[in-house]
């Protein structure tokens, strides 16, 4: 179980390969990578994430513990960046390993749903019209609620 919260960029492919190598002999690995979005309709210049690292590490470790016992994961890693990011840069990378695919998929979805509502990160979007704090989404609360 690994939790990493840092302002340093990370390489999703290298993380995936290291995770797979450590899990030699297991069958199914799922990764989720969230990247800074930007589209012509909603152009973003930068995304700045604020973080409370001590609490983030506690919360992410606890969600990995829950996912591990609930779905029988063999390994799970959560990497989350904060600071200033630009479109296309990876923000978050969640990896799960399990004997079979269903557990690996469910574990990764569970971790993402918890992370969205329960990990202390706050996004600030900078677009052509200025900077604003991103509001929490009701659909993220709903996504988390389905595991309860």
């Amino acid at each position: 179980m690994v939790v990493r919260v840092s302002t340093a960029p990370f390489d999703p492919g290298a993380e995936t390969n290291a995770f797979l190598a450590a899990g030699r002999g297991a069958g199914a690995a799922v990764t989720f990578t969230g990247v800074v979005r930007s589209s012509p309709d909603d152009p973003i210049i930068a995304l700045t994430l604020e973080c409370y690292p001590e609490l983030a590490i506690n919360q992410l470790a606890s969600s990995i513990d829950q996912a591990t016992s609930r779905f029988g994961l063999l390994a799970a890693t959560v990497i989350h960046r904060y600071g200033r990011l630009t479109p296309g840069e990876p923000i978050v990378h969640v990896m799960t390993l399990a004997p079979h695919r269903e557990a690996a998929f469910k574990g990764a979805e569970f971790l993402m749903d918890y992370l969205k509502t329960d990990a202390p990160f706050w996004k600030q979007e900078t677009g052509p019209d200025g900077t604003h704090w991103v509001e929490a989404k009701a659909e993220d609360d709903a996504a988390k609620a389905r595991w309860e």
Binding site: Y52, E54, L55, L115, K116, T117, W122, K123, W133, A136
Partner: protein, 83 residues
């Protein structure tokens, strides 16, 4: 007791942290928010909608009903938007 503020709460208060010594009848997070609001109008305004204020006591996420007695650090912040 150290209080930490994050995101727009930090911005609206113009500070990321402060040291406070609440009186002994401040038992819970809710009491602490009330007490902080009673001594600071900016805080009172920013925390008017209590459902938008989340709290952590000593690096653990808690409800507003959680006790703060003996706490070293209490963090107050808006709903989280990571991932």
């Amino acid at each position: 007791m150290k209080i930490l503020y994050f995101a727009w709460l930090r911005e609206r208060l113009n500070r990321g942290e402060e040291e406070v010594s609440p009186p002994s009848d401040v038992a819970t997070v809710a009491d602490l928010i009330d007490w902080l609001a009673s001594r600071d109008e900016a805080f009172a305004l920013a925390t008017q909608k209590r459902s938008l204020i989340k709290a952590a006591v000593d690096e653990k996420l808690v409800a507003h009903t959680a006790p703060v007695a003996g706490a070293r650090v209490v963090a107050l912040f808006p709903p989280m938007t990571g991932g």
